[in-house]
């Protein structure tokens, strides 16, 4: 993907304007910090664009988390991925990919993700309300929850792309529904999971179900759905 490379204010157009999520100014110039670039390259990112507004220590924390997850799951190795800052409202981070394949992007809201300590406090509140899955309560677990959730989206996309290249002919939506049923069966039948074992956001749709269950699996205090996701990933890996 070439958006924003070495260019400021790459023009982006938002569709779906009835959403309360507004993603603007996606990407930008390459991150100016050599240590950030080096970390990101080691983690497996293709490039890092428009992220200078995010504090260096916070970027280091996020990228180190991705690096840990990547060693175990390999989503960035499977699908080349950029790390990009963006502006806008209504979201903290997102993952994007083309419907026709190609590079993926991990998007960080430059304001919401600027300081990992603020991210941790926000996650603690969301877990308390039940909108997000609980963690083990450690500061780093809460600070990394958002990144872990988004890596879950990248991993699911990579698994889908791999399935397609291996002959799977269903749609992405059909794939997500199938994964949901398998993980849910494990959660309910093996671990006694019920509706309260899944966050409010995990009930949104099967894509967020995957990301929330993945975040639970990797945040130190897995619910029945987090444990089920761990089991499922052991036999469905890249």
């Amino acid at each position: 993907m070439s958006y924003g490379r070495e260019r400021n204010n790459e023009k982006t157009k938002l569709l779906g304007i009835s959403s309360n999520v507004h993603v603007t100014n996606l990407g930008g110039p390459t991150d100016s910090r050599s240590d950030v670039l080096q970390l990101a390259q080691q983690a497996g990112f293709e490039g890092v664009y428009g992220t200078d507004d995010i504090m260096t220590q916070s970027m280091g924390l996020y990228i180190n988390r991705i690096s840990q997850l990547e060693r175990e799951y390999g989503a960035l190795k499977e699908v080349p991925t950029d790390l990009a800052g963006a502006g806008g409202l209504g979201y903290a981070a997102a993952a994007s990919y083309s419907a026709t394949g190609g590079n993926a992007t991990l998007i960080l809201n430059r304001v919401a993700m600027r300081n990992a300590a603020d991210v941790a406090r926000s996650q603690a509140r969301s877990a308390e309300s039940g909108f997000h899955m609980p963690t083990d309560g450690r500061l780093t677990s809460n600070a990394n929850y958002t990144i872990t959730h988004e890596y879950g989206h990248l991993l699911e996309n990579a698994l889908y792309q791999r399935a397609v290249s291996n002959g799977y002919t269903g749609t992405r939506s059909q794939y997500q529904s199938s994964v949901f049923r398998q993980v849910s069966d494990i959660a309910v039948n093996r671990y006694g999971g019920n509706s309260s074992s899944l966050s409010g956001y995990g009930h949104y749709n099967s894509a967020e179900f995957f990301a929330e269950s993945f975040a639970s699996a990797n945040s130190g205090n897995p619910t029945a759905y987090g444990r089920a996701m761990n089991d499922w990933l052991r036999s469905n890996h890249l």
Partner: protein, 67 residues
Amino acid sequence: MIREEPYFMQNRDWYTTPDDFGSDDVFFDDGRGYHIRDDAPEEAKRSYDEFYADVVVVADGKALTVV
């Protein structure tokens, strides 16, 4: 995507889940886990519509699905 908790979820009387109909499913047949009630306030209905609206960003002429 990590996003803010939507307004319509602040009141359990404003939306339904498959649970409410005695179903063990997490999602309704349309793939959504929530349906807004007809008698919910207009602000809650608007919040619901915004929550489920697709977010697509176009960069370099390519439409990117955002999740």
